[in-house]
């Protein structure tokens, strides 16, 4: 017996969740940019977007995060750790690829050291994924063995009803169950006709790609030089990626005090691997692009058993020179055996 959330009950749900101490975040479009932001009512939500331009990752791993506040004294330096608020949050309307991204990154942040900044937020957040009703030319979840209705990373999965009146609910976790409990009186029991999933064609042969990348012979292949020729070396693909997680730690301050911050960094930047000596082991853009692909489809899998890509396609969608993971992996797929 499944339950249904009606669109016209959404405002009541938001109110109920808020009353229970949750902030509700959903896709919003503000200042010509779509991202996840706090909403007060369903009208604030932009649920019809195929995908927000910014990923949900931002809400767990912000682009800049203060870690430590310090004061420079005559004899010693006083410091104070800054931790994120213990705010309970509902993420409503997350796309399966973004939610998967969180799940993909969890092992990374909890591997040798449990990143409090990540997990404090993860533990206090409930992810309500909505399965996709549409896809565009850049979507490629199926190519990485996910799907438009993947429940990976989701506490609750909603499937849109055909007539658009609401969503059919699937619950996967205790956290999801608890969230729905708050609004149980607002939900209907029953089965509806759900919207058919969009066709997302497989664009590359992941098995072949992984095999090719795993072959050490190919590391120095001319392939990398050719494929990355037009890469201009910006960080937009990494910063808009739901799984890219590299960061840098910087102290910012003046004479008397300052803050140590954790900032996003990108393997696309020449500075990423620059040594103090001036030597740069990845001194060309092709080696940087190779690193990005290798990290996602070889090294990460080697360490954590999953590929670090959830198939959202943002890398291609926003690339100023129309590059992206899809093109590269397609090209590998098409290489002669």
């Amino acid at each position: 017996m499944t339950r249904i959330l009606l669109r016209n009950k959404l405002d009541d749900c938001i109110a109920a969740w808020q009353k229970a101490g949750f902030s509700v975040l959903a896709p919003v479009k503000r200042h010509e940019m779509s991202s996840f932001g706090e909403v007060q009512k369903s009208g604030d939500m932009a649920l019809d977007l195929i995908l927000t331009e910014r990923t949900i990752k931002d809400q767990f791993f912000p682009q800049t995060e203060p870690l430590i506040k310090y004061k420079i004294g005559k004899q010693q330096i006083d410091s104070e750790t800054m931790t994120p608020p213990e705010k309970k949050r509902v993420f409503f309307g997350v796309r399966p690829c973004d939610a998967s991204g969180l799940a993909i990154d969890d092992p990374l942040f909890g591997w040798d050291y449990k990143d409090d900044y990540w997990f404090r937020r993860r533990d206090n957040s409930v992810i309500v994924t909505i399965a996709c009703a549409q896809a565009d030319d850049f979507c490629m979840c199926t190519s990485v063995k996910l799907s438009p209705d993947s429940a990976k990373g989701a506490d609750v999965l909603l499937r849109p009803l055909l007539e658009g009146s609401g969503w059919q609910i699937e619950v996967f976790t205790e956290r999801g169950k608890a969230l729905l409990e708050i609004v149980s009186s607002l939900l209907l029991e029953g089965n509806g006709h759900t919207f058919p999933l969009p066709q997302v064609p497989e664009k590359f042969d992941l098995e072949k790609v992984m095999a090719w990348l795993g072959d050490k012979e190919n590391f120095e292949s001319q392939f990398w030089k050719d494929i990355a020729l037009r890469c201009v070396g910006c960080g937009s693909c990494t910063f808009l990626c739901p799984t890219c997680h590299c960061f840098d730690i910087q102290d910012e301050g003046d004479t008397y005090q300052g803050i140590r911050r954790k900032n996003w960094d990108s393997c696309s930047f020449a500075l990423f691997t620059m040594h103090t000596s001036g030597h740069n082991p990845r001194n060309t853009q092709s080696t940087r692009w190779r690193q990005r692909i290798m990290h996602k489809f070889n090294y990460y899998r080697g360490k954590f058993g999953v590929n670090s890509c959830s198939g959202c396609g943002r890398c291609t969608r926003q690339c100023p020179v129309d590059m992206g993971i899809t093109e590269t992996l397609q090209a590998i797929t098409n290489l002669p055996r």
Partner: protein, 657 residues
């Protein structure tokens, strides 16, 4: 780790009455990196300085901030103290809590707070100061003097007389300049040629002076102590090493009616000529534009006349010579203004309206009239001569704004010479003011009026026109408040002194500044009057501003003294506040090269070990850099920095505010 000493000076009561120095000391003692903080009544006094020195030694201080008066006052004092205590003198900053704090604020709390902030920010700056060493630049002890007029000759003789080599470059065929055209000179009335010619001869015969006439300075590269100069020796068509100066060729030249520049057109010369009889070197030059051979391909009479083989060479080309010099004296002189702008004075229309310089030639014993004052139109002696002063000077509408300085004196002299040469003469002088400041000058003009009966009329001339064979000068006598008309036989215009026509272009070529007219800028009008803003280049004579002979000569000797001062050492020590380029990040856009006011930034090639060009980068020549930092601000990639005011220092200073 930084160990900074902070020394708070009371300056008697000057600081202490308005700044709570106790609080200042307390605040700074609590500042990170401050090792010791003291206060004292007068840190600039000997015991005060001793305290600083002892503190440096005992605490191994790495930097010092003296919170006292303006760095313009005592920076040197405390730098010296630092150096004596073994600390690099550039590891010092002065916090100006007197001129810019205690003296200008009345509220003690606010003044104290400000003093604390100023001092703290300079502590942060000084933590990032670098040890600097004065820059040593080798000095080539040879001077270039540009211009062979009296100023250039004097400078050359003074420098050569002190035992240093001089290259004296003159663009005319002879040295001597304008002074050689003058008849007698005020206020002594000694003959110009008589006092100048011995100097000219001395210059050309001096073992330390190489005189290059008919030559021009084409390029100046390098910097103080190390200039490279390219001189173009224009083709003279006469080999001056072979020529004996016999003058036969001049006699035989068939082209005889060329108006002589030297004689202001009052006399003629030939196509092969020396500009004047006493020319130095007294060797002719062929005027290519007037020579029959160069025009028609036939003649060569001079060559046939010449007894010396290959002395006259029609195939001669311009040649270039390069010299290395350590200092440059610019003495390029002046021109007189083209007076045709004053149509109402009839210059150019009436032959007997002439310039003061032409009058000099008429009055000169070696001139076209052998010293007789005769009218150019008919060769008759004029009975009445009207002199119009400020015919161009002090006239912003048609002439120049400034005073040409010499005209009052030479006009008085002209009236006097005219009276001496022509008894019963009648001189009338229209003037605005009589400016006769100078030794013996006022006495001189008084003499012209009282003994030689020059009649001075205060007022301007509105018109000169011809009527019945006379030049009618219509003007106004402002003292009487009446219009006047004078029937004159000759009118002499005291034309304005202007820079050489190519003065600005030449200044750009050698890298010195000029004013709106084209007179060259001195580094400081009062305190550095013979130096230019470009180190190692000095000025003398009328290229800087209108000057008479005594001033030109005085300035020439002053410039020579500056040069000799520079040449007194083999190495030159310069303030190390200069820019330097980070070559690894320089993008080679050359913006700094354009921005540098001193042409101190050059392009440098970076090559790998095999000699292949990797890239071109900017490179600051520390000998030329004056330390303004304009390049630093321009550089987008932040690849240039200025010692003493580095990006790190300023950043720290601002971030501590």
């Amino acid at each position: 780790m930084a160990k900074i000493g902070v020394f708070v000076c009371h300056c008697g009561e000057n600081i202490a009455s308005k700044v709570d120095t106790g609080n200042l000391v307390k605040a700074l003692s609590d500042h990170p990196g401050v090792e010791i903080c003291n206060e004292y009544k007068y840190f600039c006094s000997d015991p005060g300085q001793e305290t600083v020195k002892r503190a440096i030694r005992e605490n191994n201080l790495t930097g010092v901030v003296v919170a006292a008066c303006s760095p313009r006052m005592h920076e040197t004092t405390f730098r010296k103290a630092c150096a004596e205590a073994g600390l690099n003198p550039y590891m010092l900053e002065l916090a100006n809590i007197r001129e810019q704090c205690s003296w200008v604020h009345s509220d003690k709390d606010q003044a104290t707070e400000k003093a604390i902030e100023i001092t703290r920010s300079l502590v942060e700056k000084v933590k990032r100061n670098n040890e600097l060493k004065p820059i040593s630049v080798p000095v080539t002890r040879r001077a270039l003097v540009i211009g062979g007029g009296i100023a250039g000759i004097q400078a050359a003789l003074d420098i050569a007389g002190a035992g240093r080599e001089v290259i004296l470059v003159e663009r005319e065929p002879s040295i001597g300049g304008h002074m050689s055209q003058l008849s007698e000179t005020f206020p002594t009335l000694d003959c110009s040629q008589c006092i100048l010619t011995p100097r000219m001869v001395e210059a050309i015969q001096h073992p330390n002076i190489k005189v290059l006439t008919y030559s021009e300075v084409e390029e100046v590269d390098g910097y103080i102590g190390n200039f490279k100069v390219k001189v173009r020796k224009k083709a003279r068509y006469v080999d001056i090493d072979k020529c004996t100066g016999c003058g036969d060729c001049i006699q035989k030249c068939p082209v005889k009616k060329i108006p002589s520049e030297f004689e202001c057109g009052l006399g003629n010369r030939t196509a092969i000529y020396t500009p004047f009889a006493q020319a130095v070197p007294n060797k002719p030059v062929i005027d290519k534009n007037r020579c029959t051979y160069f025009k028609n391909g036939k003649c060569k009479i001079c060559q046939k006349t010449c007894q010396i083989e290959n002395c006259i060479d029609f195939e001669m080309q311009d040649t270039y010579e390069e010299y290395e010099v350590g200092a440059i004296v610019v003495a390029t002189g002046f021109q007189i203004q083209d007076t045709s702008v004053y149509g109402e004075y009839g210059y150019g229309k009436y032959k007997d309206v002439i310039t003061g310089l032409s009058f000099e030639r008429l009055a000169s014993a070696s001139g076209p009239t052998a010293g007789k004052i005769l009218r150019p139109s008919d060769g008759k002696e004029p009975e009445t001569v009207v002199f119009i002063q400020c015919a161009g000077s002090r006239d912003p509408s048609k002439g120049v704004k400034y005073c040409s300085k010499i005209c009052c004196m030479y006009t008085a002299k002209h009236a006097m010479l005219y009276a001496h040469k022509h008894h019963g003469s009648n001189s009338k002088i229209f003037y605005m003011d009589i400016r006769a400041a100078g030794k013996g000058y006022d006495e001189f003009t008084r003499r012209a009026i009282e003994e030689d009966e020059a009649e001075y009329l205060r007022g301007r001339v509105s018109k000169v026109f011809e009527e019945n064979g006379k030049l009618i000068v219509r003007g106004v006598d402002t003292l009487l408040g009446k219009p006047v008309e004078v029937a004159a036989d000759m009118v002499v215009l005291a034309t304005a002194i202007v820079p050489q026509p190519d003065a600005k272009e030449f200044a750009k070529r050698i890298g010195i500044g000029y004013d709106e007219y084209g007179f060259y800028n001195e580094a400081h009008l009062k305190l550095r009057p013979v130096e230019t803003a470009t180190a190692g280049i000095y000025l003398c004579g009328a290229c800087q501003s209108p000057k008479d002979i005594p001033d030109s000569v005085a300035q020439a000797s002053a410039a020579a003294a500056k040069v000799l001062g520079l040449f007194s050492r083999e190495q030159l020590e310069r303030e190390p506040v200069v820019a330097a380029v980070g070559e690894s990040t320089c993008a080679g856009c050359w913006g700094c090269v354009y921005a540098c006011p001193y042409n101190a930034i050059e392009q440098k090639e970076i090559r790998d070990r095999n000699g292949n060009l990797i890239k071109e980068v900017a490179s600051v020549n520390p000998g030329l850099c004056q330390g303004c930092g304009t390049c630093v601000t321009f550089c987008r990639s932040n690849s240039i920095d200025l010692a003493g005011f580095t990006e790190k220092q300023i950043f720290a200073e601002v971030m501590a505010l």
